[in-house]
Symmetry: C2
Subunit: 190 residues, 2 copies
Amino acid sequence: MQNTLDKTRRDELIDAASHLFRSQGYERTTVRDLAQAVGMQSGSLFYHFKNKAEILEAVMAKGVADITAVAEFALEGVTEPKEKLRRLVTGHLTALLGSSQHALEVLLYEWHSLSTEARDRIVQLRDRYETLWQQVLDEAATAGLVHPDTTFLRKMIFGSLNWTVQWYRPDGSMSIEEMGDRMLNLILRG
Amino acid sequence: MQNTLDKTRRDELIDAASHLFRSQGYERTTVRDLAQAVGMQSGSLFYHFKNKAEILEAVMAKGVADITAVAEFALEGVTEPKEKLRRLVTGHLTALLGSSQHALEVLLYEWHSLSTEARDRIVQLRDRYETLWQQVLDEAATAGLVHPDTTFLRKMIFGSLNWTVQWYRPDGSMSIEEMGDRMLNLILRG
DNA sequence: CCTACCGATCGGTAGG
DNA sequence: CCTACCGATCGGTAGG
């Protein structure tokens, strides 16, 4: 029971931290900002987290976990390589520009604020997600749908996907699904 | 004469700041770190710059100016659309991963530390560079070399290019030129 | 989770 | 460009 309550409060903190770290940056956000955002005293933060760095790691870990879950769910029951790829693209964009936007932007832009140990742990989580992509791209290459150098291709795709946070505006004329389809068009051969 | 000396010292500071802001982040870098890097007292920094934020802006402005100069030089005398595109790609990678690496990474990753006024000024500089690309891509599209939606394509390309800082290692087996050619291969139609 | 607090450090300034 | 310094703020802790 107490564990459940702890978890909720912890999640609230991670959520608030995602927002603050993303809009002001990690270093610029003070523990006082964060405490105020969830309505507690700054000293009380350290009942939930050992230190400020641990909060950053938790935000990033949540970001990777979220986008991985989205991808796994999107692939469920799908067998056609092209459709798998389409769903991975759309899923990535949906998480990045919608549901897990803040945590994922923190993941992308606060890398240098992580300790090397924390970095290793996040890399491990990220690798699982990248493996998912690699497998789908390999299938697609076997089917002749994409360029055979899938490792290189994957890096190019990741770059394009992640860059969307720099320019995509949800209130514009292009929906996330439409953007995904356009990207897929550029990725597919011929 | 004094102006020349001032400029040199200023440039030294911008160089040192590029390195420090990139490796530690802007907020984490103190004016004392920076002063020590060029061998002066921390208070003396403010003889050269009004405040810390002005140094960040100077670093970023130098980054954009550098990469624009590289692009303009690379295009000089070239008339064939495909070759123009190849040179833009290679030029971008050369600046980003080599000659102006630090300043450009700061430009990519410290965006949220800029004031809105400084942001506007940097955007203006960046627009000039993007226009260069847009024109070359439009020529290439007219020649049927690339997908006709060049605005979208340009954003995808920028993403792929800028993402290379996350994974490219100069001591690996792939040279920058080779990487450029591979990217061009994915960009070109057919 | 709060109260009360501390040591350290930060960006920046005045006066030369 | 240096010396000497300040007010503000920071992450974190002890004790409850």
